[in-house]
Amino acid sequence: MQIHILYFAQLADLAGKTEESRSIDHNSPAELYANLKHSYNFPHEFKHLQVAINHQLSAHSTELKDGDSIAFLPPMTGG
């Protein structure tokens, strides 16, 4: 299925892009992140990131569905 991925902050810098689509053959945010971490040398552990699916904060264990957008969010540093 097709997943749309959004990148922010350090992850966008390391990926060299702010978004991309990927075909995946599983429904696990953890597995997707492991692949992205490998592709782009992301420094964060999955458990230290928040997960937003379709622009809503979601449990790390949420099952992805075809057409979902997902973002892995580093610790926030606004203000």
Binding site: A52, H55, L73, G78
Partner: protein, 155 residues
């Protein structure tokens, strides 16, 4: 909706005006300003990057929590995005209430939670052109027991 992200200069005068009320006796506001230094390095510019499709729902959750926890009349938050230079306002919070105690506590609650929960990330660009994504607001300020702690790590 009492929240917005903006890539334009934050104008406290007009934001304050929107909270004016004849029934509120107390108004507290907070502003985070871009300092010319951080942990010994001279800051030339900050870059705030946000997640605009997610930030409003989180900001509104924080504002709703503040209204549930404290007896306030109204509250608002604005956060800047994009490139900021020293002296610019990064974030503004305003709160009205009948009584001053509630304005201080709610304003503090909102800014603490905005810093930790609003999906915005800060990159510092130094005068030697090096830059760094700030790792975390690691002061634990949102914890009420730290309210009286004299020194947090970040403004």
């Amino acid at each position: 909706m009492n929240f917005h992200l903006t890539d334009q200069a934050i104008e406290p005068t007009s934001l304050r005006r929107k909270l004016l009320s004849l029934s509120a006796g107390a108004y507290c506001s907070y502003e985070g300003w871009v300092r010319n230094h951080n942990e010994g390095k001279v800051v030339k510019e900050l870059h705030y990057s946000g997640y605009p499709q997610l930030a409003p729902s989180i900001a509104n959750t924080i504002l709703k929590e503040a209204k549930e926890k404290f007896h306030i009349e109204d509250a608002a938050v604005v956060h800047r995005t994009g490139a900021l230079t020293t002296g610019d306002i990064a974030v503004w919070v305003g709160v009205t209430a009948h009584h001053r105690g509630d304005t201080f506590l709610a304003c503090r609650y909102i800014i603490d939670n905005v810093k930790h929960r609003l999906p915005i990330w800060k990159k510092e660009i130094y005068t030697d052109d090096t830059q760094a994504w700030i790792e975390s607001n690691h002061c634990g300020c949102a914890d009420p027991k730290n309210l009286e702690h004299p020194h947090q790590t970040h403004p």
